[in-house]
C-alpha cells in the first residue's frame, strides 16, 4: 500500500465519489417516486426488478433511446450546452466535502475528500451557484416563452436566496474559524460541539435549509419548473437525455446541499458519543446524516404546496435576509465578547 503512487489513489477517489454521486442521483429518482407513493397510499414503481429497484436503469435506457427534439428557432449551440452547464457545477462541488475523517489503510493516511483546499466553503458556494447559468441559458436558447419565464424566475430566485445561504454558511465559518470544510468538521468532533447546538447555529441551520431548498429549485420553491403556470419551466423544450441531465444536475445539487448541511451543522463524519470512532464508521455516520437530509427534500416536496412568486420574494428579502444578517451580527458579537470569557 505504501508504494502505490499518489495519482492512483486520486483517480480512485474521484471515480468513487463521482460514481457515488451519479448513483445517488439515480437512487433519488426512484426514491422520489417511492416516497411520494408511500405518502399517498400507493405502491410506487415495483415492476422492474425487486421492489422496482432497477427502475432508474430502465429510465436511463429509455432516455438514451428517445428521440431528441430541438425547436426550430432555438439557438442550437446554447441549447445543447445548457444541460451540461446545469449539471457539471453541482458535480464539481462534491469534491471539497469531507466524507470522513482520514482513512488509514496499511499505515498510509488518505484524506477522505477529493480536494482539501483552504477555502472549501467559498469554492463550494462559488461553483455551486454557477449551475443557474445552465437554467437561464436553457430557458433562453429554447426560444419558448415558458422556458424563458422559467429561466428568469430561476435566476431571480437563486440570487435572492444565495445571500441567505451565504450568510448562514458564514455563521458556521465564523463559529469554526475556518473556511476549510475539513477544519469545520474537526471543530465539531464531539456531539456537544456540533454547530446545531448553539443558538446561532439553530437559526443558521433553519435559514440554510430553507435557502438550500430554494437554491436547488425544489418544492415549495420550484418556480423554475412550476408546472401549472409554465408547462415545464426552463426545460419545457428539452427531451431525451438532455432532459435527464437537468434532473441529474438537480439531484446532484440536492445531494451536495444535504452533504453540506450535515457537514456544517451536524459534524459531518463525527459519530455521536464516539469521538475516536473508526474512519469507516465515520463515513457511515456521514452518509446517514446526508441521507436524512435527502429524505427531508422528498418529504417536504410531497407535503407542502408551492408558494406564490411574490411570497417567495417577500420571504427571501424581507424575512430571511434580515434574520440571517442579524444572526451573523450576533455570532460576531458572541465571538468577540463572549467566546473567550
Amino acid at each position: 500500500m505504501q508504494d502505490v503512487p499518489e495519482y492512483v489513489i486520486w483517480t480512485l477517489k474521484v471515480v468513487a465519489v463521482f460514481g457515488g454521486l451519479i448513483a445517488t442521483a439515480a437512487i433519488m429518482s426512484l426514491a422520489e417516486r417511492k416516497v411520494s407513493a408511500w405518502m399517498q397510499y400507493r405502491y410506487g414503481p415495483n415492476r422492474v426488478g425487486p421492489f422496482g429497484l432497477f427502475q432508474p436503469l430502465a429510465d436511463g435506457i429509455k432516455f438514451i433511446f428517445k428521440e431528441e427534439l430541438i425547436p426550430a428557432g432555438a439557438n442550437k449551440f446554447m441549447f445543447r450546452l445548457a444541460p451540461a452547464l446545469a449539471a457539471i457545477p453541482s458535480m464539481m462541488t462534491i469534491a471539497v466535502i469531507p466524507m470522513g475523517t482520514t482513512a488509514v489503510v496499511d499505515g498510509r493516511a488518505i484524506p477522505l475528500s477529493i480536494a482539501q483546499i483552504d477555502i472549501g466553503a467559498m469554492y463550494l458556494v462559488a461553483i455551486g451557484s454557477l449551475s443557474i447559468y445552465g437554467m437561464i441559458l436553457g430557458g433562453w436558447a429554447s426560444n419558448s416563452k415558458y422556458s424563458l419565464l422559467g429561466g428568469l424566475r430561476a435566476s431571480a430566485q437563486v440570487i435572492s436566496y444565495e445571500l441567505t445561504l451565504l450568510l448562514s454558511i458564514l455563521c458556521v465559518v465564523a463559529l469554526s474559524g475556518s473556511l476549510d470544510l475539513t477544519k469545520i468538521v474537526e471543530s465539531q468532533q464531539h456531539v456537544k460541539d456540533w454547530n446545531i447546538f448553539t443558538p446561532m447555529g439553530v437559526i443558521a441551520f433553519i435559514n440554510f435549509t430553507i435557502a438550500s431548498f430554494a437554491e436547488t429549485n425544489r418544492h415549495p420553491f420550484d418556480f423554475a419548473e412550476c408546472e401549472p403556470e409554465l408547462v415545464g419551466g426552463f426545460h419545457t423544450e428539452y427531451s431525451a437525455m438532455r432532459f435527464a441531465l437537468y434532473f441529474i444536475g438537480e439531484y446532484c445539487a440536492m445531494t451536495v446541499m444535504s452533504c453540506l448541511n450535515a457537514t456544517l451543522f451536524f459534524g459531518g463524519p463525527s459519530v455521536p458519543f464516539l469521538p475516536e470512532a473508526h474512519w469507516a464508521l465515520g463515513m457511515l455516520a456521514f452518509f446517514v446524516k446526508a441521507g436524512l437530509f435527502l429524505f427531508l427534500f422528498l418529504w417536504v416536496r410531497w407535503t407542502l404546496p408551492r408558494f406564490r412568486f411574490d411570497q417567495l420574494m417577500r420571504l427571501g428579502w424581507k424575512v430571511m435576509l434580515p434574520i440571517a444578517l442579524f444572526n451573523l451580527l450576533v455570532t460576531g458579537a458572541w465571538i468577540a465578547f463572549a467566546a473567550d470569557a
Partner: protein, 170 residues
C-alpha cells in the same frame, strides 16, 4: 352580497414554520399505512353475479347449448356484434346455430342479448379481460363462447330473480 369572512390566523400560523412541521408530521404518519392501490394483474378485480362481463353461451348438462338460432339477440344487439347462421339438428329442438359469432371488439357488454334470449342460452359472465394480437382473433365462435352451466349458475339465478320483480301479479 356575500362577504367572505376570513379566519384570523394565530401567530403560530403566520410564522408558517410550525404549520410546516404539522404538515410534515401528517404526511409521515401516512408513510407506513397500507397502500390502497390494487396490484391489478396479480390481484384481479372482485366480481359477483351483478358484474356484466362478456356474454357466454351456456352449455347445458347434456353437453349441448340451448340456442335455437332464433336471432332475437342478433336483433337486440345495439352494436351489431352478434352474427348467427341457423341450421337443422336431429335433437328435439330441431334448430341449432351452425355459426354463432360475437365480435368482442364491438360488444358493449350491455346485456340486451341476455334479456332478449327466450331459451336462456346466453348469459353475461364475469370475464372482463380481453386481449389479442389481431381483430380477427377477437371474433369469438361457438367453441370460444361455450361455458359450463355451473360457472354461470349464479348469474342465471340473479337474472331470474331480477325478472321476477318486473312480472305483474296474475
Amino acid at each position: 352580497m356575500v362577504v367572505l369572512q376570513r379566519k384570523e390566523l394565530t401567530l403560530a400560523e403566520r410564522m408558517y414554520l410550525p404549520e410546516v412541521l404539522r404538515g410534515l408530521s401528517i404526511t409521515f404518519s401516512k408513510f407506513f399505512e397500507k397502500p390502497m392501490t390494487r396490484l391489478y394483474p396479480e390481484e384481479p378485480l372482485p366480481t359477483n353475479e351483478v358484474t356484466r362481463g362478456q356474454p357466454r353461451l351456456v352449455v347445458k348438462d347434456d353437453g349441448n347449448i340451448a340456442c335455437v338460432s332464433c336471432g332475437m339477440c342478433e336483433i337486440a344487439c345495439p352494436a351489431y356484434a352478434i352474427t348467427i347462421d341457423g341450421g337443422e339438428t336431429d335433437r328435439p329442438i330441431e334448430r341449432e346455430p351452425v355459426r354463432f359469432e360475437i365480435d368482442m371488439l364491438r360488444c358493449i357488454l350491455c346485456g340486451f342479448c341476455e334479456e332478449a334470449c327466450p331459451k336462456d342460452a346466453i348469459f353475461m359472465s364475469d370475464e372482463l379481460e380481453l386481449a389479442g394480437f389481431s381483430r380477427e382473433s377477437l371474433v369469438y365462435g361457438i367453441e370460444q363462447l361455450k361455458r359450463p352451466k355451473s360457472e354461470l349458475q349464479k348469474r342465471i339465478d340473479y337474472v331470474y330473480r331480477l325478472n321476477k320483480r318486473w312480472r305483474r301479479a296474475p
